[in-house]
Symmetry: C2
Subunit: 325 residues, 2 copies
Amino acid sequence: MIESDELLSIRAAELYYEEDKTQDEIGSILALTRWKVGRLLAQAKASGFIRIEIVHPRARRLPVERRLRETCGLTDAVVVSTSGVEDQDELQSRTAQAAADYLAALRPVPRTLGISWGRTLDDVSRHLEDGWASGVDVVQINGGVSLNRRAGTAASTAVTMAQKAGGHATLLPSPAILERLETKRAIESDRAVAAVLSLAADADAYLFSAGAADASSVLVDSGYLTPDDVAELVRRGAVGDVVGRYVDASGAIVDHGLDGRTIGLPLERLRAAQLSIAVIAGAAKHAVARAVVTSGLCTVLVTDEETALHLIENHRPVHDSEDHA
Amino acid sequence: MIESDELLSIRAAELYYEEDKTQDEIGSILALTRWKVGRLLAQAKASGFIRIEIVHPRARRLPVERRLRETCGLTDAVVVSTSGVEDQDELQSRTAQAAADYLAALRPVPRTLGISWGRTLDDVSRHLEDGWASGVDVVQINGGVSLNRRAGTAASTAVTMAQKAGGHATLLPSPAILERLETKRAIESDRAVAAVLSLAADADAYLFSAGAADASSVLVDSGYLTPDDVAELVRRGAVGDVVGRYVDASGAIVDHGLDGRTIGLPLERLRAAQLSIAVIAGAAKHAVARAVVTSGLCTVLVTDEETALHLIENHRPVHDSEDHA
DNA sequence: CGCCGGCGTGCTCATATGAGCAAAGATCGC
DNA sequence: GCGATCTTTGCTCATATGAGCACGCCGGCG
C-alpha cells in the first residue's frame, strides 16, 4: 500500500515536474482522480523526493538562512549557494557580493559604519555599487597600516566604500599590533588615534570578517606576526582572528599579552553592538565562524552554504571544542 | 535592465520555491505586480536557473527518454535516474527494476518472449513480480549451458521469468560458442535445438542485454572465451557482445569465423523484430550501447541516465568511431 | 515634430490547485 | 461477527496561476 503509493507519487512527480502535465492529465494517465494526484504530489514533496535547487551565482539559501537564524540566535543571516562553485575565490566573491547587496539594502541606513580590513572586506568594497547609499561615513575599527607591498589595501577598502556611498572615510592611522605595550598605549593616547577609536566605538553598525588561524593570515602576510607566532596561538586554542584579535573556539581572547598590544575596537564593543555584520566564507574558516557566532560577536552573518550547514549542525551554546580543517 | 531582471527572478524564485510564498506575496515583498513576478519566474525556469530533480531509486528521466527516442529513433526508451547511486550494482539493479516494470506494463502482452541471458537479464527476472503477466512463454535466444559454477543461471533466468508470468520456459540446450564449425552445425541441426531456435525466431518480442568487450564478460567467465580472445577481438574493433556475438561500433560482426561458431538468433532477426528491448547500464557499456542503438538492434532501450546522455551526445548515424571507458 | 512599430506592463478571464468536509472503507478490539 | 474508530476518497468552494489582450512608453523614421 505505502510502497505502491510511493511509486505512484514518483510517476506523478515525473509527469508533473518533468513533463509539465496538469494534475488532471496525470490523473487520466495513471487512472487516478486529480485529488489523489495532488495528494501524491504533496506526499512526494513532503518525503523529500522532489529537490528544487536554484542554480545561480547570486542565489541564496533562504531555508538555510532561517535555520541559521533560529539555531544560532542571529537577527539575520545571508547564505549564498555553493552549487557550481569552482574554487575558493569564487566562493569568496559570491559571499562578498551578497554582503555588498545586504549592506546596500540595509534599512535604516547607518550614519557611521565601522569596518575591519582584509581580503574579504576589500572584496565587499569592490562589489558595492556606486551610490549604494547616500552619505554613509566609514571608520576603520582596527589598526592596519600595512607593512608590506599590499600597503594601502586596508585604507583603500574604507575609502572605496565611503566614496561609493558619498560619505567619507576615517582611517585609523596605526599599526595593527605593536611590539611593546607602552608603544601601544602611547599610540592609543595620541589625539588623532583616540578620536578615530572613539568614532569607531560610536558607529551605528559594524562590518567585519575573520581570518583562519594559520600561516595564510593577513596578519602574517602583513608582517605583524610570524608563522611561528600563529602556530603557538593555535597550540593555545586559537581558531582564528577577529579584527586582529585571536580567539579560541569559545570566542575568548587566546593571548591577553598579545591582545593588549593590539590596536582597535575591543571585542566587547562588537558584542554589544546593535548591528554587527560578519562576512565569513570558506571551509578554512568554519572554526572561526563558529566562534564568532556562538560568542555573539555578530548579529548578522553573511556566509556560504557549507559553512552555514556546519554551524547549524555543530551548534552547541559555547564551551570548549574539537574541530575541522 | 536584463541584468537586474535576472537578479530579481532569482530572488523571486527563492521566495517561491524555497519559502512557498505565493506570487502575490512575492509581489509585495519585491514591490512588483504579481504578473511581473509570474513572468520573472517563467524566465528563471526558461533560463534553467530552476533545477527540479526527483531523487528516488525508481525515478525516471522523462525528458531524457524523449530526447533519446527522438535522436536515436527508438520507439520507446526508459532512462533511470543515477542520482545517489552508490555503486555499479545499484545502477544495474535500478535499471533491471525499470526493465521489469516496463515488461510488466507492456501492452499488448507478447505471447512469446525471446530472451538472452547474463547478469543483467537475471537481475530483471528477479525484479519481476509474481503474476507480472498471465501466460507469457519465454524462449532462450542464444546458447548458454554454463561451463562453470554459475551453471544454471541462464536457465534459471528464463524459468523464473516464465514461472512468474504463469507461462513456460523453453531452454536452448546448447553451448553458446562451439570450438568447431562442424560441431556447431551438428548441434544446430539437432531436432530439439532447431525447434527452439525456430520458436525463438518467431517470438513476438525480445529482451536482451549486452556485454562490454573486456575480460569481465560472462563469455569469459563461463569459459567460452579466454581473456586473450577478447583482447584480440577488441584489437579488431569489438565494443561488446550482443546475445553472444561480438560487434564493432557500427554494430557489425567483428569475427565472422567466431560468429559462425556461435549458436543463437542471428542479429538480423533482432534488427527485424517488431519489438526488441535492450537493457544496458553502466559506463563500461557506453560503447556497446551505442553500437546497439545506432545499428538498430533494439526498438526499445532501458538504460541509465549517464548512458542515455552519452548516446544523445554522441549520436551520429553509424560509421567508425572513437570511445570512452 | 509627429507617426509608427515593438516591447513591456497591468489588466480580464479561464484554468489549475489546495483546503476543508462528508461519506466510504479498512482495522481493530470485543 | 459486529460496531467504533481511524484512514482514505471524492467532492465543493476559495485561491493561485497562466493565457491573451489593450494600453502606454520608447526609439526610429519620415
